[in-house]
Symmetry: C2
Subunit: 206 residues, 2 copies
């Protein structure tokens, strides 16, 4: 029996998009429930008690079990498919790029997009405004690391399209909304086009 | 043939300790190479070109291949062992807690430890000093999420000791060096003792 899958999400979040893109590639339907993070809908007592004590989306609900963290949900959905290499080094290397995305890319590129395109620069706190230059620099550094890798490789891991590409595409392809110019990273720009032209691809606004 | 394994590390880093602890549990010897991150030894042109373009440790070298990111290295080392659940949900749930550690725990708890116990509060930049209260709050929130989970579970995933426990132990057991009081999180405190009493355990200073 297949358990019912519900994605608890804020649909414009790249972390949520990763999960929908994985589901599209493996052909798994997801029910979707939208929360407005700007209105604090993932910090309500009900959400914290019943969905995720960490107060964050996305959460993939599998029957009556709840799985937070975008990378974990993608691995769950892609279990046993070609999106997850099984060879020992390739598998670890996929996770390496997924970790890079969450640690060195998302906190900078996704955060600037959210602050500038969703919250609005005039509504940022002073503390947030003080963090803009460091996040700008760290985001550019992450794109440079990607560009260097992609100058010699078509994909991030295992020589083929894997969850690492899905994880990194999510916020990279909308990095312009945070003021990053992908024209400065030509190998990244071409890789975005490669991923978007794959059969099974869906857009973030789909 | 087994390839030679070299851990490029800063031994006091919890991210590096995770890898040594995993290696100890699976009985795999590691050669160790120390870099002083305070002196910028992971940002030299040689390191960036030959070890990790992202300028960070740990990096696990496997023969002539380089694997950055602590979680990826732990998964590589524990491949095919009981430290990695194979059941679909349990496996994803292990990754969920490892992602939580890198996204919600480490940037707060590890960073405060590094700033206060290694760099020194008087040597922090004004920007770093401004971030202390938010990182303090986020670190306490992460410990509270762990404490709630551990009040009803002995381990983080799969009902047994896995890489999720190793990943979360690394910076939790030294959180006091960043000014966090584990006495406020009794279930976390007991879980630290459970992990440290396992056969095969090694200390961060070993």
């Amino acid at each position: 029996m297949t358990e019912n899958l519900i994605l608890h999400e804020y649909s414009q979040s790249g972390n949520c998009y990763k999960i929908r893109l994985t589901a599209a590639h493996v052909g798994t339907p997801l029910e979707r429930r939208e929360y407005d993070i700007i209105k604090g809908e993932t910090r309500t007592p009900d959400f914290l008690r019943n969905v995720n004590a960490n107060g964050r989306i996305p959460v993939l609900q599998i029957g009556d079990r709840f799985l937070p963290e975008s990378n974990a949900a993608c691995v769950y959905l892609a279990h046993g498919t070609d999106l997850i290499p099984t060879e020992r080094f390739d598998h670890a290397d996929m996770l390496r790029w997924m970790s890079f995305e969450q640690y060195s890319h998302e906190p900078n590129i996704a955060t600037l997009r959210f602050w500038l395109a969703f919250v609005g620069e005039d509504k940022l706190s002073e503390a947030q405004r003080d963090m803009l230059p460091a996040k700008r620099k760290a985001g550019e550094d992450a794109l440079a690391v990607m560009d260097e890798h992609l100058s010699a490789n078509d994909w991030f891991a295992a020589g083929r399209f894997t969850l690492a590409d899905i994880a990194l595409l999510a916020y990279t392809h909308v990095a312009g909304e945070g003021g990053f110019d992908l024209g400065r990273y030509p190998s990244v720009f071409r890789w975005v086009g490669r991923v978007q032209s794959l059969s099974g691809h869906v857009a973030i606004k789909a």
